[in-house]
């Protein structure tokens, strides 16, 4: 009984949904029953078409995320280890941090075309910010004594970076990855909703404009499951690689 407690609110919401759907007060277009959503979900999963569309979205998400993570970690570590680079880049990042990068999307469409590349470029840009900023803070908070002792024992600059600074920054890198991955998925979906002919975001808007709400909700369920699964996979990877530090979060 106690183990079930966390799910009370979700269960209540589902029951309330079903009662609303079956009461007949609203059109099934506004509140399709769970049964119909489930049917559409099955139809989506069991057909190769669903798999292809999901893959399109995932491909964009991962491509932009990977590029943003790689460049962001490099920039963040450079900024953390060099006063000059930090002085150069810090004002750029903190000045444009609060600016919605999504506003650049129309320009990206002209530069990179209507296909995947403009979306990947925007995902890259949105991921770059949290990756760089959090890695930068992480590199700066590396315990100085560790760096000093490594230097004292004759470690070269490269060895200090690879053996001391990088592992010490790793928890921060993973914190940044956990911020950036949902952002990547969100931006992929948004750009697909704004302008696309494929991907899950497109399917959501398409199902809505053809008033197939049950299908739309089924895809919303798929997207939610993707977001959850990606986050859990990342946490699992983190706990394997950063085994010396316990993750300071709740319920994950």
């Amino acid at each position: 009984m106690k183990r079930l407690r966390p799910y009370v609110l979700i269960l209540v919401a589902l029951v309330a949904w079903e009662i609303t759907a079956r009461s007949g007060l609203w059109s099934p277009i506004l509140f399709p029953s769970l049964e119909r959503i489930g049917g559409q979900l099955w139809a989506f999963i069991s057909q190769p078409e669903g798999f292809t569309q999901t893959w399109t979205t995932l491909y964009r998400t991962f491509a932009g995320f990977a590029a943003g993570a790689l460049v962001g970690v490099l920039l963040g570590m450079l900024m953390g280890r060099s006063q000059f680079v930090a002085g150069l880049l810090d004002p750029v990042f903190s000045g444009t941090y609060a600016v919605p990068k999504l506003a650049l999307f129309p320009i990206f469409i002209f530069v990179f075309g209507l296909g995947s590349l403009s979306k990947i470029a925007l995902i890259f840009l949105e991921c770059l910010y949290p990756m760089t900023i959090i890695t930068y803070h992480g590199t700066r908070s590396v315990n100085r004594v560790f760096v000093w002792s490594a230097q004292n024992m004759g470690a070269s600059r490269a060895a200090t970076l690879a053996r001391v600074v990088f592992p010490a920054t790793l928890p921060y890198v993973f914190a940044a990855l956990r911020v950036a991955l949902p952002v990547a998925l969100i931006v992929a979906i948004i750009t697909e909703m704004i302008s696309s002919v494929d991907g899950l975001g497109y399917l959501v808007t398409y199902s809505l404009s053809s008033l197939k709400t049950d299908r739309m909700l089924a895809i919303v369920v798929v997207i939610s499951a993707l977001g959850l699964a990606l986050d859990h996979a990342l946490v699992a990877l983190r706990n394997r690689l950063v085994y010396w530090e316990k993750l300071d979060t709740y319920y994950v």
Binding site: L30, G87, V99, A103, P182, L185, I186, L217, I223
Partner: protein
Amino acid sequence: MQRLAQLGVLVILLVAWQLLSLRGLPDFVLSPLDIARHFIAALGTHELYLDAWASLARALPGFAIGCILGIGLGLAAGIAKSFDELLSPVVFLTYPVPKIVMLPLFMLWFGIGDVSKIMIIALACFYPAFINAFYGARATPRILVWSARNMGASQAQIFRRVVLPGALPQIFAGLRVALALSFIVMFATEMINARSGLGHLIREAENSLQFDLMYVSLLTIAILGYAGDRLLRWSRKHFLPWEESHA
């Protein structure tokens, strides 16, 4: 000195951009001087203010609703176990889910007007506000609570004088994330469907290939986002004089 060097970098970048444009850039890349010229021209017209106002009238109420609910419930979950057990699993479970996918559904329920947009912005802002308030309240050092209780403070007093000030830095961190998020979601919803606002303006400019208008809209949203962030930092200094701001 540091300031001067940073300003220098900015000036060098702009000059390089301007010089590049002299050698000929594609149509969709305007030179900084051109952008400035169009922006100043647009400032003299009525439309830009209308669109900016329409955007703010969506982002700010959404931000306020989401943050008030998020901070309130987050603090409640941080200090009361019953709230924690009821709310936290749902919040943390749905946290990595892209909230924007709910927009079509909200449009069906609340219409395609401003209500559905404000609701989706509030939903997006709720999460960072809740999570930061929750962690902020939970991180209150027990010793402080004990000593307050020892000195005869009531529950309400402990909350107001110990838990809340302790959680404020974290709450402000959440507000900063939420503010940036509210602008992103506002822009996204306006680009997906709206008849006014900066997101709509940029879409319209894109469709009619008016690149100058695109940059005007872009610059306006950039300035608004930057100003909002500065305002938040300034109020943080005002409310948290004892905390050194680290941005």
